[in-house]
Amino acid sequence: MKTHFIFNFTITLVLAIPFLFFGVASASNYDSKVEQLQRALILTGFNPGKADGLWGGKTARALSMFHKRQKMTLDSVDIQRSINSVYELWNEQQELDESSKDFLQKKIGIGDARHLLERVGIGANIKDVNKLMGMTRSKAISYIINEIKTESWLPLPKFLDGPNPPYWIDGDLNSEEEQSFRVARDREMSEYRIWWVKEMIETPSPQTERLVLFWHNHFVSSYSAINEQSTSIARQNIMFRELGSGNFKMLTKSVIKDPAMLNYLDNEFSEKGKPNENLSRELMELFVLGEGNYSEKTVKEGARALTGYSINKIRNTSFMFDGWRHDNGIKSIFGKSGDFNGDQFVDILFEQENASEFLTRKFWRYFVSEVAENEEEITSIAKRFKRSDFDIRTLLRSVLTSKAFWDESVRATIVKSPVDYLIGTIRSTGFLPADWNTLPNKLSLLGQNLFEHPNVAGWPGGQSWITPSGLLNRSYLAKSFFSSLGSNVENMVNAQTAPVEMTKRSIALRYASEDYKGPSKFKIQLINNIVKREVSMPFMYSDYEVSEKLVGDELIHATLTFKDVTSKLEGMKKVITVGLEGHAVWGDFYGIKLIEDTFEAEIPQELSDYKDTSPGVFFINSDSLRDGRFDKLYRHLSSNDKRILQGLCSHLGKKEFLGNLLVKLSAVESRAGDKFWADKANFNDIQYLSKRCLRSIKKTGLIYSSTHKAVNGHDTEKFGRIKDASQLPWQTLQLNIENGDEFDTVEVTFMNDHCCGPGGSDNGDRNFFVDWIKVDNELFLSSDGEQHGNTCDSDPGELYCSGWVEMRKSISLVDSNSSNKLDSDKRDKLYVERAGLSWMNRFNKNRDWNEIAINLLNVKFNNIRYNAIRIKLVKRKNGNLFLMLSSMGCYPDCFENRWPQKVHKSDRPPYNKDIKISLIRRNNEDHEAHYWGLEKSDRKFVDALWASMPKIFEEIKKGREWKRAVERERTDGWSDTLDFILKTLPKTRYVKSVGSEPLIVRPSQESANMMSMMEGLKTGIPFPANTKPKTSLFEIEKSFRDNHIVSLADLFLAVDPVVVSRTSEDVSSIITDPVYNLK
């Protein structure tokens, strides 16, 4: 929070003067909050001078006047609080003005309260209704406006804490990397969607979200259309909260610098000579003036003014005014001509007649009525809006205090948007459906997929919400709204306070299901694959013999010796001995006898059958297989021994081998033995035991398995398929298990696919999606996994057919926790996450300037850290060969802005600074000055960059951009230069300073991102309108009785119902009346 001390304004003023020039890149101490304060002061009759966003004497004086008037203290000033209190005074002034209007002095009743809340908020919560009742309408409006916030009620999702994802990297990723990059963005988007829905459900200031929703549909940008830049679209949404209740002109100027918008309307690369007209056109048609109020010529001129309004991706994907690409020429726009830039273009638009009326009309339709427009009132509101220099609260207040707004005839004249319909119902009833976290998906079903507008004009609203599927789905959702009654939500509420049980292992799985006649079933398995894999190894030997045959009084025994046993595994035991034993009298088979010579290792005594008499003997029989001793033995064995055991069991069980063996054995002296080995029952026993043994071995690799039914799936039978995975109703299943054995593989199996019968997917689809599974602190991403079974040619996490996704690669969620670990990094080593080619020109020796630009991600060198840095390798015609670092190419700022004195400065915005560091020092004096002008630590960093060049080139050659460059024959000409660098570098001061191999590529610190993603899991359920969720119809109805609500129809319906009875006391039927679609 910025804090300005009111009595040191003289100092601030002095500082401000040098920056008082007219430019796009606003002066460094321009503060939009200050401008908002200045504007509020002007509106309230104080004089802060010009609303320029610069904190100066006049502003300070005006604020201090205000404070005196309000008898407030004068120590330090929190600007946002000041803005709020100035607006409070402004609201009081408005109330005075309104005192003569009778209709605004009327006391608010239940119908009025519902009307005001539904229109200016989301739904009408009983708590809010009670608050407003008894106030005058005028007062109630002040109350609403005073509670508009500029920040969200809930803390922002964690993924917005750090820098933005490196969007500049995506061209360099190979297709697998690209896939996981995109999946990560989708995940963030879906997290943000749920966050916003949650905010709308819970916030005590729904009027704030109502405005955000308005701007979300006015200044449209959509996620898919901006290359899935999740953070850009989220930050735009935050910007709407910050500026959406301030000044429309300021907001518009902010929008033309908003990275999501610049991308969406293709202004990012718009440059002199090749202006893109998209932003210019929409600015006039959709944002400020309205269709037909401008000419095609003006579109072209405006587009020129907007050239150079660009994005610097390296610098955290932020706005950059690029003076080199901006068209400085004279433009003529609406009769004015000058070398206008985009901001000035906006200023001119706001001077036009239609500017105030256009937005006023849109507000009217949004807040008053979609069917009736009162021209007289609209004109007068528009005038007032213009007089306020486009103050949004003035516009809002004017609309809410219009006669029409309170007229009975406008009740039920606006079709509820899906947000109104679903989230409004949650707020109005206080009931939270158990599947609330699928709301983004439900909104999408009703046609309002947040952050995915149908086109730049946004959702048309009104009757366009009433589509065939919209109708079907509204009705279905209304009817099933209370069906998830009770216990689920109750449990969720309780779970928030319940202590965590101590178990060996915790599992969390993020999945989504497309249901068809029932939910998906799936199985989670933890597997020790090393164990499992051994089972499939072949068992080979040169010969075997029956080395011992014994027929005693009771005991029948045979020892088999296999010779030259081989296997792919080195060091396999060459001779293996195993016994078969039975009872001579009863003729029963005892079991397969493992003895001293069977394994390399000894059989542990505690597992032996005859612990005391003959240790080291183990019988594979029904007992040992059943009581777990066999499993214990197996786990105890070395890999080789495991293989031996597996080989024996599989071999003994083979029909042919066993048949021959028994013939061999029965053709002996003793009658008893003869009979015994020839007995079919014993043949069966041996075979059965070998099979059981094998099965047991296979199971030993399986550490854990459980089957589940998916919850909150998307019903494809009712609603059709979902095309975009980011819009699936993702769920997280959490479980605790007791088994703590080691595992290396996780498998999630989809068990009950339904699809592709006769007629194809026409008859319904059941599909299953896995995003990730977390086992303790190991996170397995399905995108890094492999799909098996009937894969249907889809990505690993998309189980369109029965099959399973196998995940072995995991990200540890522990390491990143201790960033101290980095302190053990070696001194003078350059750590990067990735080095990739940004661009290179085809080397042309006649050209004065040839360059290769290289991006480095997450750079660390001693105490220096950059999120991203772009270095250029330049070869000049005069032979100079140098590295170049520029202020446009570092995030955060290069050298923390400690540039050498002789730094080269550009004279156009963004007033780029750069330094050049020659490979060979004699080349250039300026370059030497740059080098020696750096602080010691920075100089060493530069040394490291140079010294790393050979390795950097090795790295960038792995990326796609380099391959593209090869394809376009851009790399060929550079080989001499690169060879020269290789040859020369060892002799340079750079290598002498930091050694020849300072670069260490430390791949992805993804775990940090993943950690923050996991944080999202922990947040609980939203409390509708900040009250504990009602969990049953009974509770809801009780809350109405407690609050003395006599008629539910008054609270829920804008006019009399047409189907249900006006006196109905049944909430669940009231919300199914057609009138409930209107507000």
Partner: protein, 387 residues
């Protein structure tokens, strides 16, 4: 959930006469329909219609270029990818037109943005607000009744964005048939919004009811068109047409054309499905006597780059040819193939604005001469439909 309950919820207890839906429909060219096939992912035009004798084609595509033997010859200069040989008969019959080099100024290479342009009739300077044909189709006037202005069989509704009109999505015929209808009453109210809501519910309900009734009456259980998902959509289209359901626009989609890598087998596979499904669809249309009434047109985000990339694929490009097929089409080549010697930053320059085709379809096919795309009218397309 069936539609009966929706109706109950929306309008039960209210009495108005049952009026069958009357959307007035045009009719100088009564009963004509357009079937749009979206080739999702951006079809590689250069490997669909191949300039056989252009040596630059071989240079641009040393690895993934098609040999003459892998094409079926359409003319002296052009061959068709042989995976599409199933439509060869349509070509021979002169019922398949190929329009060369379609594109628009200010090419956008984002799938999402560019398909939005094709679907709303926009270009690099901005997209349209509504589907390219919604306004004109809704304005059609005449005597016939329509069940819908358009039906999307793949669920995609971008091309039908419109604040009004009856634009339906039908991803399952059986689902539709299970809908049953009640008599639809109404309420007398001065509230315009409420009246609109009830009217619209009524209109949509009777439209859906009519469709499901007709479908039920003529449903053929075993009829099926090959060609995977596209075949399934065409199957549904035939069921609709055969049932006498009047909707001037049907839309289907086939995905998988984004062939950045492994193009040879991927593209072959896609084109085979496209060819087979289209040929079977045509056959079925002929059988039910609807071939002359039906126009089939392909569209796609953009074409692909002229040169292949290093992963045996192609990246996002610009111009591409498209197919216009039907019993009333004058087959053959239309327009001019982009000059492979005059690439612009490696891309083919479009030789005809795609909206010229839209203009011709609205004007000559539907008889809407004063349509949204009049200014793109291109005489090179004169006579593409039989008089």
């Amino acid at each position: 959930m069936d539609r009966r309950s929706v109706l109950k919820i929306l309008v039960s207890g209210i009495v108005i006469p049952v009026v069958p839906l009357k959307i007035a429909y045009a009719a100088q060219k009564s009963g004509r329909r357009l079937v749009l096939i979206e080739l999702s992912g951006a079809n590689d035009g250069l490997n669909t219609v191949i300039p056989l004798n252009d040596h630059r084609y071989r240079e641009l595509r040393p690895n993934i270029g098609l040999d003459k033997s892998e094409t079926i010859t359409l003319s002296k200069d052009f061959g068709l990818h042989d995976a599409m040989k199933s439509v060869g008969k349509l070509w021979e019959a002169g019922e398949m037109a190929i329009i060369h080099g379609l594109g628009y100024p200010g090419a956008n290479r984002s799938h999402f943005k560019s398909i939005a342009l094709w679907e709303t009739g926009g270009d690099g300077s901005g997209s349209g607000r509504n589907g390219w044909l919604t306004e004109d189709i809704e304005s059609l006037s005449g005597h016939d009744q329509l069940e819908a202005h358009g039906i999307s069989l793949d669920g995609g509704m971008g091309i039908f964005s419109s604040p009004s009109g009856i634009w339906l999505s039908m991803t399952s015929a059986q689902q539709f048939m299970e809908l049953t209808s009640d008599e639809v009453p109404a309420v007398d109210t001065k509230n315009e919004a409420l009246r609109m809501l009830l009217d619209r519910a009524h209109t949509l309900n009777s439209s859906m009811e009519s469709i499901s009734r007709k479908l039920k009456k003529s449903y053929i259980r075993d009829f099926q068109i090959e060609g995977g998902d596209l075949g399934a959509q065409f199957t549904r289209a035939i069921l609709l047409i055969n049932a006498g359901i009047s909707s001037p626009i049907l839309k289907v989609k086939i995905g998988g054309f984004d062939t950045h890598e492994g193009q040879p087998w991927r593209h072959r596979n896609r084109l085979r499905s496209l060819g087979r499904a289209t040929a079977d669809f045509a056959k079925a249309l002929k059988k039910i006597g609807q071939w002359e009434n039906t126009l089939i047109m392909t569209y796609s985000e953009f074409g692909r780059r002229a040169a292949e990339n290093y992963t045996d694929g192609t990246d996002h490009g610009t111009a591409a040819p498209h197919f216009v097929v039907g019993g009333s089409v004058n087959g053959g080549f239309w327009g001019v193939h982009p000059d492979l010697g005059k690439l612009e930053d490696g891309d083919m320059r479009f030789t005809m604005d795609y909206r010229a085709v839209y203009e011709r379809i609205l004007a000559d096919w539907f008889g809407i001469y004063d349509n949204r795309f009049l200014k793109y009218k291109n005489n090179d397309l004169d006579g593409i439909f039989k008089a």
